[in-house]
Amino acid sequence: MMFGQQQWDLRPDIMSFAKGITSGYMQLGGIQISDEIREVMDSAETADMWMHGFTYSGHAAACAVGIKNLEIIARDNLVANAQLMGERLLAGLQKLLEFPCVGDVRGRGLICGVEIVKDKGSKEVDLAKTTAIQNAALARGLRTRAVGNTLAFAPPLVINAEEVDKIVDILGATIDAIG
């Protein structure tokens, strides 16, 4: 599934998107609207027209990159790879639950989060240790991001099994060193 909302049985009226549409090679985002909303726009008097839009809405070069990016994602089966590698990453990270400071490990697709706590029982967040792990992991060659007390992982969808294992290995060694 290419879109997060497809993971559940949703009936969206409006869907925001951005980020992955160009893989970051150009700036592009957007919204999609339902046929019902489109009809309301198409039937408006000019006094009630939809007075909204940006200088760079529909930027030609950004949209050209978006088209090619979607083509690459489909051609190279990156959605399937994300699912497969995501399962491997989640399973690997779940092994880190044996560390006292790892309170929770969760994930969906190729997005995972690792919560750092002071105590597994109280679940008290440990922001200082989360930042320390983030910085120490970077020094060992792994970039993660502390989102509050959660270390976030969302690597490129082209990642392979060896690289997924590298994430788990470096994070595990980092937490082991920090304690």
Partner: protein, 250 residues
């Protein structure tokens, strides 16, 4: 001179004239100067090779150093990089991309409006929702409900939708009409929760008779939103899935 020829120290010195997103000097003393990337790897100006476990900011799907994307960017820029796309004008790539996206995410979503990023997208969504109800004669239907701990962007309206107090404190007053409800993180749900159950299902079970389809459900959700002042009090930011099953009744 290309940018690649600048060494680490030179970039850091010049960078002192740049203000970075979510800035504090303590976290920018010795920034990582990323010079190039290849696949999942980024390479710094001081010679380090780093696995980017965050794909930039969750977005570099096809990985770094792709050669096809710059080629189409070059060709399109040479032809027409940009011109106005306001009503009355269009260009082939935006028309083609809208056509490709029609029906891709959901059969009901067949029209696309383009922005330059997610914050602009969410502001566009908020304005379009209000526009819809304005046109339907319901001008008072202006409220948005979002999750505590949820991040929705950083423009004025998106900031108000974001359920993370740290983004609010120093930028008040917030745009009105945004209400935050409990987040769906199972790990942090204080009540009794059974395996496989969502927070919403557990909360509904805890309030016996609080069936999702009944009119009172929405009112009760509002009751959980800190008196409707549009401020929330969650302790921290968390990475979590949206749990839409709880949202459908709204």
């Amino acid at each position: 001179m290309t940018h690649a020829t600048l060494d680490h120290a030179t970039v850091v010195e010049m960078d002192k004239k740049q203000l970075h997103p979510v800035y504090h000097p303590s976290i920018h003393k010795d920034p990582l100067v990323v010079e190039r990337g290849e696949g999942v790897w980024i390479y710094s100006a001081d010679g380090r090779k780093i696995l980017d476990g965050m794909a930039g900011l969750w977005n570099v799907n096809v990985g770094y150093g792709n050669e096809e994307l710059p080629r189409v960017a070059y060709d399109q820029m040479r032809n027409l990089a940009y011109t106005s796309n306001f009503s009355g004008m269009t260009n082939p790539p935006s028309a083609e991309l809208a056509s490709i996206l029609a029906g891709m995410a959901h059969p009901s979503l067949n029209t696309t409006f383009f922005t330059s990023g997610g914050s602009e997208s969410n502001d566009s969504a908020f304005k379009t929702a209000r526009y819809f109800w304005y046109r339907k004669g319901k001008k008072d239907k202006i409220k948005f409900i979002s999750r505590r701990a949820g991040y929705h962007g950083i423009t004025v309206a998106a900031t108000a939708a974001t359920g993370i107090p740290r983004y609010h404190t120093m930028f008040g007053p917030l745009a009105p009409g945004f209400i935050h409800i409990a987040h769906p993180l199972v790990y942090r749900y204080p009540g009794d929760i059974t395996p496989g159950e969502t927070v919403g299902q557990a909360a509904a079970r805890a309030r016996r008779g609080d069936s999702a389809g009944r009119p009172g459900y929405r009112r009760r959700l509002h009751c959980r939103t800190d008196s409707g002042r549009g401020r929330c009090h969650c302790a921290t930011r968390r990475l979590l899935p949206p749990g839409p099953r709880n949202l459908r009744p709204l």
